[in-house]
């Protein structure tokens, strides 16, 4: 067992662009779930439209990258309105099922052969972020951050992703401490109290859904910039469950909850994964008990177990306050 390499891989995962993308999407989810109390289980749908907004604009219609990003953001706004207008008047459990269904509908349509001329079907779209890499100001070479070695390309995506995370965190911090944020949180605590004070709860919920959805769409963009490839099956409903897990881990309803949650989540997941693989490779775990290809499944199972135990024993996560997470149906 090579613990140094496990640690390096895990650190890489914890600060990598994927962790940044998940942190962004979770910041959006935090606005929905943590602050407004909306049970949005279709966050992955916002990531998908953001990612494909860029990918389709650039590789199919040949538009510049910044127009593509604008298209991605606009798609997220449209999706939030389409989703929110009918469902936000419903009880929270209806909203949960409607949003997860919407995310799955999007994935099925984007991967279908019927949409293939535009979306690339199951294979998705590739190589649309060249403009993004051309903007890279970091001179080529290898950069060492402690044990981690990054190329200038990796460093650029990583910095871009975490830069966006910090911007979004700042934005959420300012908004939550504004009068708007107080109304949003009062909706989470008691919708009817907010309603009886003359607040248009429905409009506030819709604004929250749009804001969180747009932040989520940036998460999708970072995710596909990193690999230069957008494929529909990387926007599986499981992604939303991961987002909930890391959000609950960090602390829902706290400004730094998603950031801390994402770093810790990927550190734990990647280190578990590489420990398992090394243990199988070194023969500590016989390969007929668990083969290397099954180690991925064990990782997902452990994430599920983690979410379950967190929700049972510490629903407020690391940063949260317990009294803020006593959620009940409204």
């Amino acid at each position: 067992m090579d613990f140094a390499s496990i640690l390096t891989t895990a650190l890489n995962g914890a600060i990598g662009p994927v962790a940044a993308a998940y942190a962004l999407a979770a910041i959006g989810l935090n606005v929905h779930f943590g602050y407004t109390g909306l049970l949005n289980f279709g966050q992955v749908g916002f990531m998908l439209v953001g990612a494909y907004g860029v990918a389709i604009s650039v590789s199919v219609f040949g538009l510049p990258l910044w127009v593509g990003m604008l298209v991605g953001v606009l798609s997220a706004v449209v999706l939030a309105l389409l989703l929110g207008l009918p469902t936000l008047r419903l009880r929270s459990d209806y909203l949960a099922i409607a949003t997860i269904a919407a995310g799955e509908i999007l994935r099925l349509f984007y991967r279908s052969s019927f949409a293939e001329p535009v979306t690339g079907g199951v294979f998705g779209l590739q190589r649309f972020a060249n403009d993004f890499y051309d903007l890279n100001p970091i001179p080529p070479g290898r950069y060492e951050l402690g044990p981690i070695i990054l190329s200038s390309r990796d460093l650029w995506v990583t910095l871009f992703g975490w830069g966006l995370v910090l911007l979004a965190t700042l934005l959420v911090y300012l908004l939550i401490h504004s009068p708007w944020g107080r109304v949003i949180r009062s909706i989470r605590e008691d919708e009817f109290a907010a309603l009886s004070l003359g607040k248009n709860v429905y409009a506030y919920k819709l604004q929250s859904l749009v804001l969180g959805g747009v932040i989520g769409s940036f998460g999708g963009m970072v995710l596909v910039f990193n690999t230069q490839s957008a494929s529909p099956d990387s926007f599986d409903p499981v992604v939303t469950f991961f987002l909930y897990t890391l959000l609950v881990l960090g602390g829902a309803g706290r400004v730094f909850g998603p950031l801390l949650g994402s770093v810790l989540f990927w550190f734990i997941v990647v280190s578990l994964d590489s420990t398992l693989r090394q243990a199988i490779g070194a023969g500590y775990i016989p390969s007929d008990v668990l083969s290397a290809s099954e180690a991925g499944a064990v990782r997902f199972a452990l994430v599920g177990l983690g979410l379950l135990l967190l929700m049972v024993y510490r629903p407020q996560g690391i940063l949260g306050r317990k009294e803020e997470m006593v959620l009940d149906a409204r």
């Binding site: 799955e104 099956d233 290809s293 499944a297 997902f300 199972a301 599920g304 006593v326």
Partner: protein, 455 residues
Amino acid sequence: MTPRSMFARLTALLVLTFIALLTLVGGAAAQDGEAVRGTIRGPDGDPVVGVTITAHLNGEEVGSTETGDDGTWQIDLPEPGTYEVRLDPDTLPEDLIPRRQSDAVRPEVKINAGKAQAVLFPVVDKDDQGAPDPGTGGEEPPPDGEVTEEPPLPREGAPFLERLAQVLVNGIQYGAVIAISAVGLSLIFGTTRLINFAHGELVTIGAVAAFFFNASAAGPGMHLIAAGILAILIGGLVGGGLERGLWRPLRGRGTGRINLFIISIGLSLLLRHVILVFFGSRPGSYTDYNIQPVIRLGPISATPRDLAIVVISVVMLFAVALMLQKTRIGTAIRAVSDDRDLASSSGINVNRVVLVVWILGGALASLGGVMFGLAQIVTWDMGFKLLLLMFAGIILGGLGSAYGAMVGSFVVGIVAHLSTLWFPIELQNAWALLVLIVVLLVRPQGILGRKERVG
């Protein structure tokens, strides 16, 4: 298969064999017959030798071959048409795997008359795919029905009414499977107000347990009926066990409803991937009732297997309805669904009622799983795929109403199959889910639900 098309196929086969013989004699390569061909190369560009490729027409194998020393392969085909071409991943060298699971199967390869069609099978290093790459690594993308065996499709070009009748029958069968699985979900919601996201896994447990007893190499190889009954018992036990071991203690702690919902999502992830470790990602099918003669009733064709699924499901649904209406426990279940506190204060042991509902729900979901596995194929994530359709069914019918769940599920199944008349079959579940969202817009309380505040 009708005698005529059988005759046509035999003739074609004979003609092709004749041509093949001629070319053997002449020593020339067959270029004018229909064929699929390709070259398998590893990630480093080297040819991969000895990989088995098979071609299938309407689910029957029509040819197979192995890649040669230069990685090339070719399968001559009996006639033009749409074939499914598969690569057997087990015959790949140990360090290589298909790029994705879905890359090992090309479900729709169109072959025009006299043309040889090239088919690609991307192959990558096992480590490339399985590397701990956050985001995409680990789980293989779900095959999403690409390898599932679909119910008999209406023939292209048949009159519209004939095709309509056929998709209605297919839809009723799909609805029957959804309904039998969803009734338990609806009863559990009615009595405990828990949205059980792990209900799909109860379906998978049923299907996989029956697979173990029936078809697994390590299992006893029982007949499917015995295996199915055992699977139903196991499903009931798992359902009851979850209630006693997890949900009842959590209710005792006063955990909020939304927290319980998220806990059920964690449980679903956990159970699904534990099943994946034990069952593996390769789909399996039962050993009984696989090949059956098709019964033709006018425009409709169905196998006895499909009819049995519908009949069993409808009988079971009637039995559940009778139980709810006529027996003491059924009355108690309805009372608890109606008003938990009132039921409790009139002397009903609510915890006992909930336990019965969980056992019943687990058993029915397992039965649904066995029937789903029989109608299509057994996979580790089959229940999760069915879950959203079950939700669509119970919301469509009215959340918490068992009869609504039955009606709604049939509507969902029929909509899914009706959509194939106009839209690609891969989108059938998307249309069914779209119905869910439309219903939420116009009648959130569902077809049979009582009008109450849902906002």
